[in-house]
Amino acid sequence: MQVFLTILVVVILALLATSRRLYTLRRRRPVIVLVAGGWLAMGAGAALGPSGVALISESAVLPMTPLLMVGMGWIGLMVGLQLRREVLVALPRAVRRLATADAVASFLIFGAIGVGGSLLWLEHTEPGWLVGPVVLIACASMGWSMETRSLRAREDAGAQRLELLIRASAALAGVLAVAVFGIGESIATRWNDGTMRVHLLQGAIRIGVCVALALAASYLIREGLRLAGRDRDHQLVVFLGVVALVAGVAMQFGAPTIFAAMLVGVVVANMQGVDLRQFERFILKAEHVIAAMFALLAGVLLDVRIGAPEIALALAIAAARLLFKPAHFRWWARRSDAQTPGIEAAPLPTDSALYVGPVRQSPLAVALAVSFVLMEDRSALSTRLLTIIAIAGFLSDLLPLSASIARHGLRRRSSQGEGPEASTEIAGATP
């Protein structure tokens, strides 16, 4: 009963939030950030969940695990499907370098913050206990939000290039984050005596299982789609069946569901001779609803009873993002600007709110944290880590938002003074 109610509330909110009626509202500048980051949905989840009014009770959350598993599989598949060979080849080298450099630097910087925080915060300081939280914090900090619309001020070719750089590198960094998270979480093994140990063999087995699952799933998808022909209902069976099976089996083996599903996506995206357009349409059609649902469920899982150490850790992550990400991005953007041929035609803008964009945490971070929560059987540590990452993400979204609003306000004021020419520029700012 409670489970039904929970699911129903979550879905009604998700459906309404993604409805056409609310589309106009979602186009407003501050709302874009809140919606794109999933903060509204997450806030609603937290308000309804055990931490809030408890309409969705603690006992109702547990049986929802299979739903979360499948949702996680869906997200992983979406991430993996981006890694098509042709797309990767077509990507400018600057994007690949930027994403890799960001992943490496983020792993070191935020991993160090994670280690420091964990040593101060956790009772257990053996490597086995630290790997999970540290890898999660480091991977959640890789990349940035792909959303650029809220920061867009003008639509010249240079700004468009900058937007493309943000989006493409964010997508690639997301893939790297899931990969590192998958490998990192796989090697931390919980033993039957309750201790956590770093166990490379267990990790290798789990990763091997994920790879085998990906290969098997790609075979199943190929055969399934061949058998299904053009029947959409049969294609739906293949899609749902594979996602549920991969997510479930990965979970049974103790491997991160999101990682296994991403590998499936990668293999599927690069399969030869299979028309995947229908398949991709299924996934993308439900993208917004799944995202909203997932954010709501993440909100339900949040543990708001956190103390000063957790808040300090969240602040440290947000501050590190603020200090490191824009500078790092600007440096790489300038470098790529100098190296990319044809740059004279459309130089990157020297001053743009888009440069602040990388401060914002990738929405994938919350998905990784939820994956950690699932792997840890919703332990207190895992739900608090989810809360920390959510707070850090929210804080990191606030700065560019306020910068954007301030810029927008200034422009509007100046346009009122300058007449129709300036207002045309602002009109172009709203997509």
Binding site: T65, V237, L245
Partner: protein, 509 residues
């Protein structure tokens, strides 16, 4: 041949991974969360039960595996749903045990979704225009078939029950036989709908079968409640109590006179129809029945209106809306102790008959979503078949199945002739009423729980017999129905007539 090998290989892969995952998770994953994490933060931790952990993979296994087996059996002329059933049986606790009994408890969500969706589809198939024109035929067939099966199956049971040694004396034997007769009236709307959808059947036979099935469900709610209440209390008076009353299983609280006063219908709800029949004392029984039926009809209208509002005003993400609207229906029915089947049928009828043309996209979505739902539903139903129970009384069960088949055939054919249906429909309509599935299993469970609640030991042996009969009907029924739909020419829409054509119209003209 190559196709079959490829499917078998894919099936092997699915099974291997699901099995491997289960073995790994059961041997390596601790069933309790470690204390060390708790110590770290002084917070309690809830560990995932192995069954819950397996559920995600279980859904994938049942969905993909049953669909593959369905694909495998389809070229042989067997209905795909037989493949779904067989795969469920194969993976279920009776054979391989990859899907455990504990895991099936978590699959109740999927089951409830399936019931609501199937009923919504059934409702959408019933056109008011058709009902108006064929009211006489539908009423006659419903009444004659129900009465014939009830009395006929009761009579056959009178011969079978004494040989099983369940009860002694004529009256107790008659009472047990009446219960058996009532359960054997049911036929499966899910099987009917699955085959109609799979074979794309259209025509008088299809529509008449659906209309009669829905009417039978409405009447069955009343009949079953009365029979179980009367027979249960009389049996309790005449038979010595077993002395063993399982409190957890007993649905009814036994009153001072030994008669049940109240029961929680939600506890009784299960399977296909979410049936929730509780015996009540005296005049209160009629009031409960009226509330139950009236409430279900009213809830169906409200649900239909709410869905229509969404479809007109929001009109986005239809597949996801549909899935969760069905969850919503199941939730409302469980909370208010209503019949999911009736509520969803009424909602579907309302949507189809009032806004049919405008909601074409929605009904397309309903059809598209039905295949995955059927896959899981029938696989779960197959997994519920207990081969041990079927094997224990198989010859008696077979005798009852054969007798039921003959009675259904004779009564339906006779009623069809009286209703002046066309020759093809008259010949094949009976096959629609042979399959039994979820509703019947749910009724059998209610019988067992109610009799156990009275302290009677015959509950479990009666349940075993009923499960045996239902399982055989579940296997034989779809085969006959598939044959009937093909032979009547309605498979593939071959015998489709204009919307609203009444049965018998052709002959009358």
């Amino acid at each position: 041949m190559k196709r079959a090998i490829r499917i078998l290989f894919a099936l092997g892969l699915v099974l291997a991974f699901a099995w491997g995952g289960q073995i790994w998770s059961h041997t390596d994953h601790p069933t309790e969360a470690p204390d060390s994490w708790v110590d770290a933060l002084d917070q309690p931790v809830e560990g995932l039960s192995p069954a819950l952990l397996d559920t995600g993979a279980g859904v994938g296994l049942l969905l993909l595996g049953s669909w593959l087996v369905g694909q495998l059996v389809a070229p042989t002329g067997l209905p795909r749903m037989m493949g779904f059933l067989l795969f469920g049986l194969f993976c279920g606790p009776s054979v391989l045990g990859i899907v455990s009994r504990a895991e099936m408890e978590y699959l109740v969500l999927v089951n409830d979704l399936a019931i609501a969706l199937i009923a919504l589809l059934a409702g959408a198939e019933i056109k008011i225009e058709f009902l108006r024109k064929s009211l006489r035929a539908v009423t006659l067939i419903t009444v004659i078939e129900m009465a014939a099966v009830f009395f006929g199956a009761t009579a056959v049971s009178l011969l079978v029950v004494p040989r099983l040694g369940m009860v002694e004396g004529f009256v107790p034997t008659l009472l047990v036989s009446l219960i058996i007769g009532t359960v054997l009236i049911t036929n499966s709307p899910a099987v009917l709908l699955a085959l109609v959808t799979e074979l794309r059947a259209k025509g008088v036979l299809t529509r008449t079968a659906l209309a009669v099935t829905v009417c039978k469900d409405l009447l069955l709610v009343i009949l079953f409640t009365i029979v179980l209440a009367v027979a249960g209390s009389m049996l309790a008076d005449r038979l010595p109590a077993s002395g063993h009353t399982d409190g957890s299983a007993a649905p009814s609280s036994v009153g001072a006179e030994g008669a049940p006063t109240e029961a929680d219908p939600a506890e009784l709800a299960d399977a296909e129809g979410g049936e929730s029949h509780a015996p009540s004392a005296g005049g209160a029984m009629w009031l409960t029945l009226a509330q139950h039926l009236g409430g279900s009809l009213a809830a169906g209208v409200i649900a239909g209106l709410a869905m229509a509002w969404y479809l007109h005003r929001i009109d986005a993400h239809l597949p996801i809306f549909l899935v969760f609207a069905c969850f919503g229906l199941a939730l409302i029915c469980e909370a208010l102790h209503l019949e999911t089947l009736i509520v969803a049928v009424v909602a579907g009828m309302l949507l189809q008959n009032v806004w049919g043309e405008r909601l074409e996209g929605f009904f397309e979505t309903v059809e598209e979503t039905s295949t995955p739902v059927f896959c899981v539903f029938f696989a779960v139903t197959g997994a519920k078949i207990d081969l041990e129970q079927v094997g224990a009384l198989w010859h008696w069960a077979l005798a009852l199945v054969a007798a039921r088949c003959v009675i259904v055939w004779l009564s339906t054919t006779g009623a069809s002739r009286v209703s002046r249906l066309d020759a093809t429909t008259t010949r094949w309509l009976w096959v629609a009423f042979v399959p039994q599935a979820g509703i019947s299993l749910a009724l059998a469970l209610i019988v067992e729980k109610t009799l156990t609640g009275y302290g009677l030991s015959i509950g479990s042996s009666l349940f075993t017999l009923l499960v045996g009969v239902i399982s055989l009907n579940l296997v034989v029924g779809p085969l006959l129905l598939s044959l009937g739909l093909r032979r009547s020419g309605e498979a593939g829409g071959g015998n489709a007539t204009e919307e609203g054509d009444a049965p018998g119209e052709e002959q009358r003209e």
